[in-house]
């Protein structure tokens, strides 16, 4: 499984976060990688529409996440606009951002993963 996350919105525009960032499942502890796979399944990711949630009017600085998952020849991209209230989708986003953060921490010299 291959996962990419792209973040927009929030307090500023960060080119580094707006660019797709890969979450490398092989670099994660096995149980975290497995949890992430299960989240993708539970969310029925490949059946989701291209956009989930609608930008509420009058909500500047709202955040948007674009998730792309590739698995077994399938590839699907979904844009999530906060707030994402559906529990399984919410959990999926939490797990992906957590994994991406752990990966980033691990890559930083002198910082414990």
């Amino acid at each position: 499984m291959h996962i990419e996350i792209k973040r927009e919105g929030g307090p500023a525009y960060f080119p580094g976060l707006a660019r797709p960032r890969e979450v490398d499942l092989t670099s994660l502890p096995p149980e975290q990688a497995e949890a992430l796979r299960q989240c993708v399944q539970a969310a029925r990711f490949f059946e989701l529409p291209p956009v989930v949630g609608a930008l509420p009017p009058g909500a500047p600085d709202a955040r948007r996440f674009t998730l792309t998952v590739e698995e077994g020849g399938r590839r699907h991209t979904v844009q999530f606009i906060e707030p994402v209230e559906e529990p399984r989708l919410h959990e999926l986003l939490e797990q992906v951002t957590k994994a991406e953060r752990a990966q980033r921490r691990g890559a930083r010299p002198g910082t414990p993963g």
């Binding site: 080119p15 580094g16 909500a59 500047p60 209230e85």
Partner: protein, 384 residues
């Protein structure tokens, strides 16, 4: 057609609210009566503006007077305890002692400082100008990297601790978000392309001014940074944005480089970020900085007043671009201070960021000398 009767909302500048309030408390009964009348007139004029632009003073409808006079700071801070389920637990009401939760304290103080700024400087009673109670929700979600105004309340995340600290840490970020509420109430300005960048810039302008007032800084002493202290030590950067030098606030492996232009020649055309609202806001931000630093002194006294007057102008359109807004700021400068230094400073500042407001492009309202703040007009020689 522009004519002086359409200029209704600057009348409150006759007396700065802090002075008015002190008179209301300590003055003679005659002084008090006059002040009360002034304060209620401002709100009446505001109601008039909402009613439409063709209204004339003869159709004034006076709103109840009592509600216009007192400031009405009503804060409630709620703890969401790392969930996203509102309303959470109320942990501090207006007037209560501080708790030992720093996020609660910072949110409470930040709302207060922002409220006080708008009240003291512009006589604006809360976000909606009508005493709206302020609610803030702290500890939203897990490692949540944002703070936002959702149209009726403030929400603060704790940050992930890796890139961002808690979002209550910066007064200018709190004020930035609340100012989105003000712009929404006054404009509105669509959150897209140039209108969106103006919306963002208004929030940075007022965010910065709230912090400058809190620190009692004049324009040349201020750092003009937005979100200083929000990044953790892992990030190569000082702040989210620099109004003085857009594009220089951060340059980091993970976040990338601050993409803000400070001049129209570097304007970024993009579909990202709602058409670059957090990117191209660098241009009007810098224009404001240039006006404030040219005029000197406290930035809220003249530059801030001009910008606030502009956002309340009935010519503001939801989809307006930089040039239209620049024109309105030039008109506001003339309206508030007469032709001269302020108007020139505003025109020059826009020109320095690549936006030219032609003299013929501005319909000059007749200068209403009575509407300016007495302190800035005192002793000034009349100008041609």
């Amino acid at each position: 057609m522009f004519h002086p009767t359409r200029h209704r909302h600057s009348i409150h500048c006759i007396l700065p609210p802090y002075l008015a309030r002190s008179i209301a408390q300590n003055g003679t009964s005659e002084q008090r009566e006059r002040v009360l009348r002034t304060l209620s007139t401002d709100s009446t004029f505001r109601a008039l503006r909402l009613a439409g632009s063709r209204t004339t003073p003869s159709t004034l409808v006076t709103r109840p007077r009592a509600m216009m006079v007192e400031s009405a700071l009503h804060r409630t801070i709620f703890d969401l305890k790392n969930s996203e389920a509102f309303p959470g637990t109320p942990v501090r009401f207006e007037g209560q002692e501080a708790t030992d939760d720093i996020a609660v304290t910072e949110a409470y103080d930040g709302l207060g400082d922002t409220y006080n700024f708008f009240w003291e400087i512009f006589g604006r009673n809360s976000i909606d100008g009508d005493g709206m109670p302020l609610q803030a929700f702290v500890h939203y979600g897990n490692n949540y990297d944002n703070a936002f105004w959702d149209g009726r309340r403030m929400v603060f995340g704790d940050g992930d601790g890796d890139l961002f600290n808690r979002f209550t840490i910066c007064l200018d970020v709190i004020a930035h978000e609340l100012a989105h509420g003000v712009t929404e109430d006054e404009g509105p300005l669509w959150y897209f392309r140039q209108a969106g960048a103006l919306n963002e810039s208004m929030s940075d302008v007022f965010g910065s001014l709230v912090r400058q007032m809190k620190l009692n800084q004049k324009a040349d002493a201020a750092d003009w940074l937005i979100g200083k202290g929000l990044f953790t030590d892992n990030v190569e950067g000082v702040a989210l944005r620099s109004m003085k030098n857009p594009g220089t606030a951060f340059d980091d492996d993970v976040l990338g480089k601050d993409p803000q232009p400070g001049h129209m020649k570097d304007y970024v055309r993009t579909w990202e970020d709602n058409g670059g609202v957090h990117i191209n806001s660098g241009i009007p931000n810098r224009a404001f900085y240039l006006v404030a630093s040219h005029l000197g002194g406290y930035a809220w006294e003249r530059a801030g007043r001009i910008w606030y007057d502009a956002i309340r102008d009935s010519l503001i359109k939801p989809d307006m671009g930089f040039l239209d807004f620049a024109r309105i700021t030039v008109m506001s400068a003339t309206r508030l201070f007469g032709p001269g230094e302020e108007e020139d400073a505003v025109r020059e500042a826009w020109e320095q960021v690549g936006i030219r407001v032609a003299r013929s492009g501005v319909r000059m309202p007749a200068f209403v000398g009575a509407v300016t703040q007495p302190s800035t007009q005192a002793g000034r020689a009349p100008r041609a």
